[in-house]
Amino acid sequence: MDVMPKWAEVILVPLISLLLAALLSALVILAIGEDPIAAVTLMVKGALGSTYGWGYTLYYATNFIFTGLAVAVAFHARLFNIGGEGQAMLGGLGVAIAALYIPWPHWTLALIGCGVMAGLLGAIWAAIPGWLQAKRGSHVVITTIMFNFIAAALLNYVLVNVMRPPGSMDPASARFPEAVHLPTLHELLAPLGIAFSKSAPANISLLVAAAACIVVWLLIWRTRLGYEIRAYGHSQPAAKYAGISPVRITMVTMIISGALAGLMAINNVMGESERLVLNATEGAGFIGIAVALMGRSHPVGVFFAALLFGFLYQGGAELALWTSIPRELIVVIQALVILFTGALDNMVRMPLERLFLMFRRPAPPANSADSEPKPGPRSGQSEGAE
């Protein structure tokens, strides 16, 4: 039932959740004898106070947009893809293969080629659990988690035994050639006369991520495939009745989801480290779940949630660097945000709904056959509308 207007649903609920998380974090900081206000100031300054901070915030956000979209797309088919981490690792492998073994004449072609390889390997890594779900009934939640471990082990093997340059002690690939270097925001903005920090890792992948948001929005709400994915997610018996193949939807959705997660590698592997290292994903695959939850599986929501988590990541790193607040506490703060915006969503939503019911247009009960169409002002359209 649409009890709340859309603005409350989309903005108010996450905002209140966020404030609660911040409040609790402040109490925790207070409890260890630090000054929460100083901590917040430092976080904001560190993440948003300079183009250097922005560069890192946006770099992290780019990662989270890709993984968040991956989880969001799967959510629409009611598939819980927890394997973003592994799919992004495989994406990194794809980028490394394309960047190292193909001589690219220009970074634009390299971006396309490496992007395709990243998406392809990520898609394959998601397609296997997808196939197991569609054909064998093995739950994707279980199989995608397991595939994260397999991906980590595979990467380990490849980096140590195959890609490691001779003589190197470091389990990492060789440096990518100069031709595949992606323009950073510094290089992109300099011609426009905007001075952006030279050392920040944010790069053109941010624009790719933004484009991916638009493409996903079009896919989910404007194409037949998206319509079928949503229909399947809402009701499998109905999808069957309409002639929508469960096997096809499960496979296609997982492939798209995996490709998006894999695409993350153009940011962290190709754009930042410019070589493939162990643990390049840094948990971004898991943050994607929180981002998708907080963004309510909508590309616009995912975009802003990714920015928030980018801020938390960068601000948290600053906090650990400049104060005696231990690094672990940053994880606690991030966890609180995830807890409140994702898991405890209803804790905020239900009292808020009751509040709206009291002051606005209370709806008749929907508990029995006697529920009737609701007249009166309609409270915005459900997410499916646009």
């Binding site: 037949r224 009745y241 002639g243 029995s368 056959a369 006697d370």
Partner: protein, 533 residues
């Protein structure tokens, strides 16, 4: 006026949900030891009124008197204390608890279960004797049929010493045989002095069992009459506010070519049970073939296999060309391409995506049609325009294509499905339970649409558990029992009695049969069936 106080008296009850006045100044007196029916269309406010009586809602105005005493009912505990028991449309039982455990749930005395269980067992035995409510106290709820589960609900209320029983649409989930049994139990309860309020929208039930009946329309009580002094047409008019045709006006059919030809159709379900055991039937252009039968005798499987989403074996041709049954080239899409439209039995589970808006549901299954797409993207403007047009012609209320399907009443949901399937101009329409949970005004409209489609020369295969509906709409009637066709009759040369025997698997309808024989047969085939309703 009698000298005894009414068991329940409501005076001037009003309840508003925002701008919606669900109950307006309702007064009602129910005498003890009677069955009082409350009838009205979906959304008339029946359930709201009963929820007030049971303490779920607080009335904005008005008073409640129980046995002459003014009583406040702030919550359901107070209602139980006042001797009111409620049997909900959707049972509130714990599936993996036994009957006994369900009965004491919420009424345990003390911390240990043992004493309350044995106390409940004793009182269960005496209740069973007093009212003929036999159940096995140690059976698990998930193992007993729907009719039995309903008895457990009634026993729960009686165990809590209810003198007043409210039943909300009790027959909605029951087979005809189970409904008859329920009515026998209600009659027994009445003769033992219990007061019963029966909420329903089925006229037949009101006429059959109640002593007095109150009619509600749009939140108001429009009339309270003695059942013996009224008639179905009068009640229908009071409910809807205008004259209603209870019988469809139709010309005799003029059947044309055979459209659907089914020979030796067999379906085996996932558990290896043969659900269809060699079905032969034909449907011609311009006729309605009604498929009667107790729910669960294979009708659903037949619709599913013809609709393309279950596999079977046998020979089925449509317009002379074979239909694939193997699941390889058969799915909902290819069936629709062949001109088969399907109004599924369960519109909320299959026919609609409840969270989708009406316009999105308007193309469900037909979303690949060229006219709803432009290039890669769906043409939302075209779909919305088409939805508005269909909603206007099928009188869907409110005519708002951006409302989610779940926010429409049952009748209007069904109209959305019907509009989508009929307007595609199919050669064959498969239609299951067209009016289940649909109010009277909408039933009339839906029946007219089905007959209109027939008169355009389309073939229609109708499945319904309502015999009345089968008789009203069909030109020919085939009766299914245990996965087979027991016989076929011309609709104007048969009656409910003959069809009822066929439904019970008795083919020699000429001879007299005892009720016991019929029931035994039904129990044999229906034991499994009743559970899946």
């Amino acid at each position: 006026m009698t000298d005894t106080a009414p068991a329940i008296e409501l005076k001037g009850i009003s309840k508003a949900f925002g701008p919606v006045q669900a109950n307006k100044d309702i007064s009602i007196r129910v005498m003890p030891g009677t069955i009082h029916g409350i009838i009205g269309e979906n959304g008339a406010g029946k359930s709201t009124l009963m929820s007030i009586l049971y303490g779920f809602y607080k009335a904005d105005a008005g008073e409640i008197f129980i046995s002459g005493k003014k009583t406040d009912i702030p919550d359901s505990q107070a209602a139980i204390a006042a001797g009111i028991g409620m049997v909900f449309q959707h049972f509130k039982l714990v599936e993996n608890f036994t009957v006994l455990e369900n009965i004491i749930l919420g009424a345990e005395d003390g911390r240990l279960l043992k004493p309350s269980l044995s106390k409940a067992r004793k009182s269960l035995i005496s209740l069973a004797e007093d009212y003929g409510l036999n159940v096995d106290p140690d059976a698990l709820i998930q193992d007993i049929g729907v009719g039995m589960q309903q008895r457990v609900e009634i026993l729960k209320a009686l165990y809590r010493q209810a003198d007043i029983l409210i039943l909300d649409e009790p027959t909605g989930v029951l087979t005809p045989a189970e409904a008859d049994q329920l009515f026998r139990i209600l009659g027994r309860l009445r003769s033992e002095g219990k007061t019963i309020i029966l909420i329903t929208h089925k006229l037949r039930e009101i006429m059959e069992i109640t002593d007095t009946v109150s009619v509600m329309r749009r939140g108001k009580m429009t009339a309270t009459v003695k059942t013996a002094e009224t008639s179905p047409p009068e009640l229908a008019e009071l409910m809807v506010g205008r004259k209603v045709l209870l019988r469809v006006n139709k010309k005799p059919a003029t059947p044309g070519d055979v459209i659907l030809d089914v020979k030796g159709l067999r379906v085996v379900d996932g558990k290896g049970v043969e659900r269809l055991r060699g079905i032969d039937l034909q449907v011609c252009a311009g006729e309605v073939l009604g498929l009667a039968g107790v729910a669960g005798n294979g009708q659903s499987e037949l619709l599913e296999v013809l609709g393309g989403y279950a596999d079977g074996t046998g020979n089925v041709t449509l317009n002379g060309t074979p239909l694939d049954l193997s699941g390889k080239k058969s799915d909902g899409q290819s069936r629709r391409a062949r001109g088969v439209a399907h109004v599924p039995e369960d519109r909320q589970r299959e026919g609609l995506i409840m969270d989708f808006q009406a316009w999105e549901n308007n193309v469900f299954g037909y979303h690949h049609d060229d006219r709803f797409n432009s290039g890669l993207l769906m043409d939302h403007a075209a779909i919305r325009a088409d939805a508005e047009d269909k909603m206007a012609r099928f009188d869907v209320r409110p005519p708002d294509p951006t409302l989610a399907a779940k926010n429409f009443s049952g009748g209007n949901q069904q109209k959305i499905v019907l509009a989508r399937e009929i307007e595609r101009n199919p050669d064959l329409l498969l239609i299951g339970q067209p009016t289940r949970g649909v109010d009277i005004g909408a039933i009339e409209f839906i029946h007219e649409q089905i007959i209109a489609l027939r008169d355009q020369g389309k073939a229609i295969l109708l499945v319904s558990v309502e015999l009345e509906e089968i008789l009203a709409l069909s030109d020919r009637i085939a009766v299914m029992f245990d996965g087979q066709i027991m016989g076929e009759r011309a609709a104007d040369q048969t009656d409910e009695k003959e069809l009822g025997l066929l439904m019970a698997g008795i083919t020699d309808t000429e001879n007299e049969h005892s009720v016991a024989e019929v029931e035994a047969n039904l129990a044999r085939a229906g034991g499994d069936a009743s559970k899946e309703v």
